[in-house]
């Protein structure tokens, strides 16, 4: 630990040289911009800039590319809050309360809390990275297919009802997500499923298209339905002193940020769609703990602070398997691995020994980068918040345009744009029936991974189902899932004789 601190100090020496500070700043700015634009994410951003780093030394190159990655986590929430368009997969949940806050004229505090929460989570996450990286990486290896499957089942059941609207409707949406997730190449046999001969459907339905469609386009459509008077009458112009969060906001958020950081860091170590699960879990946790769960969905600041911190912490945690094991657990770290290789650095067990100046230089630059991002993002808050001053009849078509260009940039695919528009229509219709989009997205993310893990486990065990119960970690998750399902029924049974069963939970407010 002491040795680590010493080397970290050396790392700061490397990271604070003028050129490296410049590359860190560049990465942070590019990352923020990429995060703000819907569709285009850190993966595309890093890939585009890799050739530009050929002439740099490896440390500077990785400092800049890593900056893009965590910078995107800062910017991703901006369009979620202002326009209900999730900028990245990790900021879907932020739409729920962030957008409500903005509609109430509190876009400023929501944006500022995102930046502060990201900073706190990023800084704490880095401490975790420095102190515990090797043991945590070894713990992550304990997750094989069986453990992974049980974790996914747990996540699916527990997080489906994330918004808490109606368990039945949420499960229906989550199931639709699962079904959509089966489209494409069968992950085990390689056969095409539900593609109806279409090449574009072979790779399945793009998550970002569904997310932007359900949330962003759906919201635009439901605005279109309103009369002109109602539309422009609703523009709430934020006043200057309301641009930044009040002390009360900060007091409410700080614990949510810390909890979000913890959840995000833990989930970030698991391979796969960590940021999505982390944000859902953080939101769920905040809602459960809150004394005012009815505020969630109506613009609760904790509902923004928790998930936004969680996705940044998950992003820092994702560097652990990359640096310590040499294995990327998620697509953005996969492309960072590629960038490292192209610069002649092989991440993995030998990296800390072989290129300590790079390892510690990059870690130190992440501290600095997080600070730069905070300073960079706070002044943007008034600017972004003022976007809402634009009349809706002008803003809404612009949002559609933004979504379409952003969507195209993800895979250079026109087909994805149609998928997005289709899900825009579905989102609009679903909203009328008070069906939520978030559970569908969860099903879409977890479904294919759950299926692969399930079939892998059974292939390894030659079809023996006891493999899920024989492994302690897997068993623990399955038992937790069972408890989660049984306890409410049990409670209901206890209440029914005495109270007539009418008093389960607070009555839903409109």
């Amino acid at each position: 630990m002491l040795e680590s601190l010493q080397q970290l100090a050396g790392g700061f020496g490397i990271a604070t040289t003028l050129p490296n500070l410049f590359y860190c700043l560049t990465g942070a700015i590019v990352g923020t911009l990429i995060g703000v634009l819907p569709g285009i994410g850190p993966i595309a951003g890093i890939a585009l800039l890799i050739p530009a780093t050929f002439s740099l030394n490896p440390t500077s190159a990785i400092i800049m590319l890593a900056g893009i990655y965590y910078g995107a986590m800062y910017g991703g929430s901006t369009t979620s809050i202002l326009l209900n368009v999730p900028g990245e997969t990790a900021s879907v949940i932020t739409c729920i309360d962030g957008y409500r806050m903005a509609q109430k004229g509190r876009a400023g505090p929501a944006l500022a809390i995102c930046a502060i929460g990201s900073f706190i989570a990023g800084s704490i996450g880095l401490l975790g990275l420095v102190a515990f990286a090797p043991p945590l990486a070894r713990a992550a290896l304990a997750f094989g297919p069986a453990e992974y499957f049980s974790l996914m089942v747990f996540g699916f059941i527990v997080l489906s009802n994330v918004t808490g609207a109606s368990l039945l409707k949420s499960l229906m949406m989550a199931l639709i997500g699962l079904i959509i997730g089966t489209i494409g190449l069968d992950p085990v046999k390689g056969d095409a499923r539900f593609t109806f001969g279409s090449m574009s459907l072979l790779s399945g339905i793009e998550f970002v298209a569904v997310a932007i469609g359900l949330f962003g386009i759906g919201e635009v459509l439901s605005n279109v339905e309103k009369t002109a008077v109602l539309l422009d009458g609703k523009v709430l112009v934020p006043r200057l002193r309301e641009l930044f969060p009040s002390l009360e906001d900060l007091r409410k958020s700080i614990k949510a940020m810390l909890r979000g950081t913890l959840i995000g860091f833990g989930v970030g170590l698991v391979p796969g769609p960590a940021p999505v699960i982390a944000t859902y879990a953080a939101y769920m946790a905040e809602k459960r703990i809150s004394k005012h769960p009815e505020e969630f969905g109506q613009g609760a600041i904790e509902g923004v602070a928790g998930p936004e911190s969680a996705n940044n912490a998950a992003c820092q945690a994702a560097f652990i398997p990359l640096f310590v094991l040499g294995i990327p657990f998620a697509p953005p770290t996969a492309i960072l691995l590629g960038a490292l290789l192209i610069h002649g650095v092989t991440p993995g067990p030998m990296m800390i020994k072989e290129s300590p100046e790079l390892f510690w230089g990059v870690i130190a630059s992440m501290y600095i980068g997080n600070f730069i991002l905070l300073l960079l993002n706070l002044p943007f808050v008034p600017l972004f918040a003022n976007i809402l001053r634009i009349q809706k009849r002008i803003l809404l078509p612009l949002v559609i345009l933004f979504c379409i260009t952003g969507m195209y940039s993800v895979n250079n695919s026109v087909f994805d744009i149609w998928v997005m528009l289709l899900f825009g229509g579905i989102g609009f219709m679903a909203g009328k029936g008070k069906f939520e989009g978030a559970p569908l997205l969860l099903g879409l993310v977890l479904g294919p991974r759950m299926e692969v893990a399930f079939r892998q486990s059974l292939m390894i065990s030659h079809g023996d189902f006891s493999t899920f119960a024989d492994r302690p970690i897997s068993l623990a998750f399955l038992l937790a899932t069972a408890l989660f399902l049984i306890i409410p029924i049990f409670r209901l049974g206890l209440k029914r004789p005495g109270k007539g069963g009418a008093s389960k939970g607070p009555a839903p407010t409109n």
Partner: protein
């Protein structure tokens, strides 16, 4: 009105299809379709090569990622591109695998080979603490316990999966193949002890071998790896089998031969450029130049090989 329109269209198409000549090729930037997402081995190699080739073509080489369908989307786009040499496609082993697996619009015959750039050997990796000391013990164990050794691969029906299947046939053993979503996850599962072996191509697994966590159980190459000269190939050990993954460049069918020649020359020069050589060495890929004719022959050979193998697998 209709007549005039068709006249305009006629002029437009005829003018548009006047053949390009190599003398003034290229007059604009050359695009290379990568049928996979950014950041994979193919993507990185052609980004590096493209950056260098731009010097010799006097125009920029731009990489375009068209992921989807395990490569099918990108190859369909590449096949449909105008055959003028401005839209090339990275021709990688799956080009000869996909058409046998699903109904694709393309086969390798829809492309004009330009050159091969990289040939990576496939290999089976195990953990350093695995119970088998060498290939003989591994094969003996597999013969006595058919279907018991679990072998991870990067995706069902993908290159390394098929290589492992072909090796089974060559060695007369039966393995239990477990597909993962990519080479990274399969190597992770091996490190965690959830599978007994994995089938990969470099650079996957190289850092873990260097760190002593994994070792090469079987190397399916004609030559030993320069990085690990002590590791014998399976041929050295009496099993006549070698199979690798190739990555080259192709243009749509019908591209003029002089344009192909110009592209071949420029990319060949880029391959020999010390700048690219250094990058390739750092990525631990094995450069292996083949001219357009030889590359075409290699594609034809592997297409037949994988076609047979997949037919057997689907039985």
């Amino acid at each position: 009105m209709l007549k005039r329109l068709s006249a305009i269209l006629f002029v437009f198409f005829v003018a548009g299809s006047i053949p390009v000549h190599a003398a003034d090729f290229p007059t604009k930037e050359v695009q290379v379709i990568i049928p996979w997402a950014a950041g994979g081995a193919t993507d990185l190699i052609f980004r590096a090569l493209g950056a260098t080739a731009g010097k010799y073509l006097n125009k920029a080489v731009v990489v375009v990622n068209r992921p989807g369908g395990g490569g099918a989307v990108g190859y369909t786009d590449g096949m449909k591109a105008k055959p003028d040499g401005y839209m090339l496609t990275a021709a990688v082993t799956p080009l000869c695998i996909l058409p046998h697996q699903t109904a694709t619009a393309f086969t390798y015959k829809d492309f004009e080979p330009i050159l091969n750039v990289v040939s990576d050997p496939s290999m089976l990796l195990v953990r350093s603490d695995a119970p088998w000391k060498d290939l003989r013990e591994f094969v003996d164990y597999a013969k006595k316990n058919p279907d018991m050794i679990t072998v991870g691969n990067s995706g069902a029906g993908g290159g390394v999966h098929l290589v492992a299947l072909a090796f089974e046939n060559a060695a007369g053993i039966k393995l239990n193949h477990i597909p993962f979503s990519g080479g990274g996850p399969s190597v992770t599962a091996l490190l965690g002890g959830h599978v007994n072996a994995v089938s990969v191509t470099p650079p996957e697994g190289i850092p873990q071998i260097k760190a002593g966590q994994l070792k090469i159980m079987a190397l399916f190459a004609d030559k030993r790896l320069a990085m690990f000269p002590d590791v014998p190939t399976v041929k050295d050990q009496g099993i006549n089998f070698s199979m690798g993954m190739w990555r080259g460049l192709a243009a749509p069918k019908g591209t003029p031969q002089d344009v192909i020649r110009k592209l071949n020359e420029s990319f060949k020069k880029a391959m020999d450029d010390p700048e690219f050589q250094a990058k390739a060495k750092e990525m631990s890929v094995i450069l292996s130049y083949l001219g357009s004719k030889d590359f075409g022959a290699l594609m034809a050979k592997d297409d037949e090989f994988f076609g047979k193998l997949i037919k057997e697998m689907k039985k």
